[in-house]
């Protein structure tokens, strides 16, 4: 293949990947008149921020954003707190039980979420946790757990066992060795897993749809869908504006962790 052809192909990819994003941005900055015009314009003739103000006026974006924040932070903290000791054990002690547990994490991906959401819904209903943020958090922890375990196990494995053993031999004792030697090395991995769990929860839609029934407890993805009316007639400008805002936290966090996420993913893929 000649170089020109390669550039043409790469350009094709860039266009395919970028055009919906640019269109979203463009729509968010357009006036209703311009949107109704027959010829679509890429760059709004009279860019406006009115759509953002309208978005806040039409739906309770602040409330929904705060609720999403609470659920996502709680999910991230609980998931990592539960998964970290587990991941350490899975990485360091390779017994049959550990192999089965990590094998299960993989196998569990095959099951469709309905098989999890229905029993969880029934349990939550018995505990009076349907329609509560606590209930949604429990479900999100369940949903993020396998991947968090997988990632953390990879990061623990990357800490050379010799370091830990050397510290333990020096008379530091196993726990002190963990705290002094292993913990600092794990910090970046733990942060990456926290942020990944946050993003997963912040973006999650199906479980929220099932668990949260009232507008007063809705999280952001549910509120976004409200911009599309029952008849599919949407006010496109505010919809685009709100969509953009809702994506910002995920994008920022993702930018921070993406390289670590890749290595976490690879650790699993290569060393099953």
């Amino acid at each position: 293949m000649t170089r020109a052809l390669k550039y043409l192909a790469l350009l094709g990819y860039v266009v395919f990947l970028a055009f919906p994003l640019l269109w979203l941005l463009s729509t968010a900055l357009k006036t209703p008149q311009e949107m109704a015009a027959l010829d679509p314009t890429w760059i709004p003739r009279r860019p406006t921020l009115a759509n953002f103000a309208d978005a806040f006026a039409e739906q309770d974006l602040v409330g929904a954003g705060l609720r999403s924040l609470v659920v996502a932070v709680a999910t991230a903290l609980i998931t990592v707190a539960l998964a970290l000791p587990a991941a350490y054990a899975l990485a360091r002690f390779r017994g049959v039980a550990g192999k089965i547990a990590i094998g299960w994490v993989l196998v569990s991906q095959v099951f469709p979420v309905v098989l999890i959401i229905i029993p969880l819904f029934m349990v939550l209903r018995r505990l009076e946790l349907v329609n509560t943020l606590a209930g949604l958090t429990v479900v999100h922890v369940t949903f993020v757990m396998p991947f968090a375990l997988w990632m953390l196990r990879g990061y623990v494995r990357a800490v050379p066992r010799e370091l830990e053993e050397a510290a333990a031999v020096d008379g530091a004792g196993r726990l002190r060795a963990l705290a002094a030697v292993v913990a600092p090395l794990l910090v970046p991995g733990v942060v990456a897993t926290l942020l990944f769990s946050f993003i997963s929860s912040w973006n999650e839609f199906l479980f929220a749809l099932v668990i949260l029934k009232d507008p007063e407890v809705e999280t952001l993805p549910l509120t976004l869908v409200r911009f599309v009316g029952p008849e599919g007639v949407a006010r496109l400008g505010p919809l685009a504006a709100a969509s953009l805002l809702a994506t910002v936290p995920s994008l920022v966090f993702f930018a921070i962790i993406q390289r670590r996420l890749r290595s976490g993913l690879m650790a699993g893929a290569v060393k099953g």
């Binding site: 919906p20 679509p40 469709p112 375990l149 599309v228 650790a267 893929a269 060393k271």
Partner: protein, 301 residues
Amino acid sequence: MTALAERPYGRAGGGSRRGPRSGGGLALLLPALVPVLVFSVGPLIYGILLAFTDARSGRNTETSFVGLENFAELLSDGDFWESFRIGMIWGLSVTVLQFLASLGLALLLNQDLRLRGVARVLAVVPWAMPPVVVGLMWRLVYHPDAGLLNGLFGTHVDWLHDFSFALPAVIVVGVWTGMPQTTVVLLAGLQNVPKELYEAVSVDGAGAWRRFWNVTLPQLRPVIVAITSLDFVWNINQFSLVYVLTQGGPGGRTRLPMLFAYEEAFRYGFFGYAATLGVAITIVVLAVLGLYLWRQAREGD
């Protein structure tokens, strides 16, 4: 952003030596097993058991064991088969297209080209976006009046509500969303192919195509098998994206199995039946994957 794929983690900590005394190991494995049991194994077993009951959503309804009744009903349910057919078309075409598109992109990103930085950033953005936003964004693209597509083509098609265009339109969005993970994994695989192999065939005077066919592809094989398997599982279980795009319409043309199960469970309240559907899809996925992995293993020998 520098090298997309670093060396895989975990090489350093390897070794198959046993850990220190197994007593301490067991105590440490407990925190590993408890979350997995409580949050993953437990709900799934409960869910699978529900498939053999007539569980309903009502608070005080009696639930009883019905054996394989739900499965019999499922097999004679025309709506299920239609949803199943759509699910397979969706799952297979998105997985294949996503793989081909990502392989092409990964090969380009692996070369010294100028636009590479931009393309790399763009290639991971869909990964970070909430599926709901992806759905809403593409609704704007496909919008019959204010949309981009009709404006560009001078057509007046309501893409997402058209009986013949809806499914292809949704498949395009599926490919767009799923490309990042696949591209990243394939690129990592490409960068792990030993350079010496290429040098060896270059000496033979092999062209780019032969190099790709004889070196790259065989070396990538395990990675390709792993990522396409995962993609297939993820795609067949897709819900949010299509729910936001079409809600399964028009006339059920994009009603993937998970949308069908969602409706059965949470619109009509048939928990048992929806669980049966989940089990049935699991069996199909396992069968497809089994066949695929078995064939790959045999050809790999």
